[in-house]
Symmetry: none
Subunit: 207 residues, 4 copies
């Protein structure tokens, strides 16, 4: 039986969990492998049996949600491109949105980590930005397809997608930070959607 492998899996998870927590609380640069190892209850050398580098641990943590995210966008775009009716298109949007929300909720901390490091100057920031470029490209393609289909009236899709990404990012970030004075996440989300829908001239009810 995979007793041995079970243990390895647990240890790998302990490392990832410790890394996530420490990268978040201290920043990628300041979090030391020494700390991560200690927090995962392993020896410093053991860390390197699981990840060859601090950076690779970071990337693994980000890719856990980033790869599925890209897949969601790409699939939605593909399906949208061959959708026949407006109803169908809206349904695709809806499913995608649901998928995104689920993904985000399941990986809250890891998403926050990427946000936090995205503008840092070191290797972690560079890794995130590499991924961000791919995300923006996908997001842009999606907005364009939406505009072609008449789902969105924004005159400048690039700009619209930027504003939306930024607004959502900030919102998300604040919710994660447990900022006081905000409603519960669901109320917030629907409020935000309404306002962003306004922005895109979307008929209410669709969003």
């Amino acid at each position: 039986m995979g007793r041995r492998e079970e243990k390895k899996r647990q240890k790998r998870e302990a490392i990832e969990s410790a890394g996530l927590e420490l990268f978040l609380s201290q920043g990628y640069e300041r979090a030391s492998i020494e700390q991560i190892a200690a927090s995962a209850s392993i020896a410093r050398g053991t860390f390197y049996l699981y990840y060859p580098t601090k950076l690779e641990l970071f990337e693994a943590l980000v890719d856990v949600w980033f790869e599925p995210l890209l897949k969601l966008l790409d699939e939605a775009e593909a399906r949208l491109a061959i959708s026949h009716t407006r109803e169908e298109s809206l349904a695709i949007y809806g499913e995608m949105t649901l998928g995104l929300a689920t993904l985000g909720l399941n990986h809250e901390s890891a998403v926050e980590l990427a946000f936090r490091e995205s503008r840092g100057g070191g290797e972690a920031g560079a890794a995130v930005r590499t991924r961000e470029l791919r995300l923006q490209a996908a997001s842009l393609r999606l907005t364009e397809v939406g505009a072609e289909r008449g789902l969105i009236t924004a005159p400048n899709p690039r700009l619209a997608s930027l504003l939306i990404l930024g607004a959502i990012e900030r919102l998300f970030f604040e919710v994660l930070s447990d900022a006081e004075g905000l409603d519960d996440p669901l109320t917030l989300a629907s409020g935000a959607l309404a306002m962003l829908g306004n922005m895109l001239d979307l008929p209410t009810g669709i969003v």
Copy 2:
């Protein structure tokens, strides 16, 4: 004569300029005092005659624009609170917006620096976040006063201010990054304003 002090001032500016550039290009954590001193053409030890700590240089760089920014918001709020007519209120908003824009344009790099570090985990990030809290409080007060006066129809001022901050931040960030595929800054700004106005249900022309 202020010959002595003139020299000191110049040296201080050289340090700040070097610090700004290096913090931006490498990140606060990775930029070393050694580099900053070399870039400012002074000795390592001389740095400490001007700033007792790396962190204090960073804070000084941020406060150059942050303190005036807060002052602008506070003044606008105070004047708004005692404004008598709708025209007067809109004028106050207009002046404030102009002041903000001017401030931002005059300190582009320093603002970008704060953005970049704001989510980092180290001491620089903490310093920025401390200031951010004060900014959000001021921004919230302002939005509330605006709502009271019927200038804004957003049902949730806290949320509205978050979304706007985020959208603008992202836009700003992209423009700074020289992202390709975007129009020139002015066109972008008016486009963004229109869309954000939409969001707040502002009658066009006001923004």
Copy 3:
């Protein structure tokens, strides 16, 4: 059947072969057990079932040729001491020389390894030097016996043996390094013998 032992023997040989190659190409200190094990297609832990220590593997590799070498010298000396005629003595020298050459050719790499490490400061160098002392003692005894028998005219046997050892060592080393500009090994060897014979005033034809 010795099926079990046959396998062990093969594995031991694989380890020695891998160790020899890696010690040579990277140096004793830099070659890691990890590399050796991988190159021998065994697990790291398995290595220690065959050798208790990295150093002991090294010593085993050297002793493969060093012990026979000493034995050859000792035997020649013993036989020389009781030889009765000049012809007999020369024959003993000849046999010994043949044996030495055969030994060297059969263990080229292992000999080179010892040369390479002999002057290193670490534990491997110490191990080689321990053996070198025994070799020099034997070589000196032999030269002295040769001088007693009138086979060699060198006034200072100790010095002569040093010079010869050094010259041959360097020659050997260069040939191994595939230095360009040298003739083929056989031509070189006979040329070197002639010159060294000159040095010892040996009548040509003997060497």
Copy 4:
């Protein structure tokens, strides 16, 4: 006054002295910067103010004598090439030999260090071998010029220069190792010269 620089110079010498001693006693690879620093009575970080790398300290130690050595050979070759009489040529050889001996005696330990590391597998060995190639080229050119002038009868200059280098190297090495049973260095040297002269068929008295 250069009080400051005087101290720096002393410290640099302390580092070089400590490095030389430790490289010799433990080998380049095993000697740690920690040890070198401690032995030079400085902090670990201070080491890096003088040498950016362990390797660069090593190279500096070797070049102290290696660069002058090359210069000696090159000059002798140049002067030999334009010498007119046999007496003149022999004088040039004599001066060169004197220069070499002086150089070697003045840098005994540093020369020994290079010998020791020359066959090691790491970066130090590589550094020495790079220099060795230049040395062999110079030595070969010199032997060839000597043969052209009829000073040497060796049929194969390349081989002759190898044998001589090796013999001298070994002799030198043994003397440095304080090997027992050897005469004093001067006696040894003249004995070795006589034997090597034999080897090259040089008329006695010239060497």
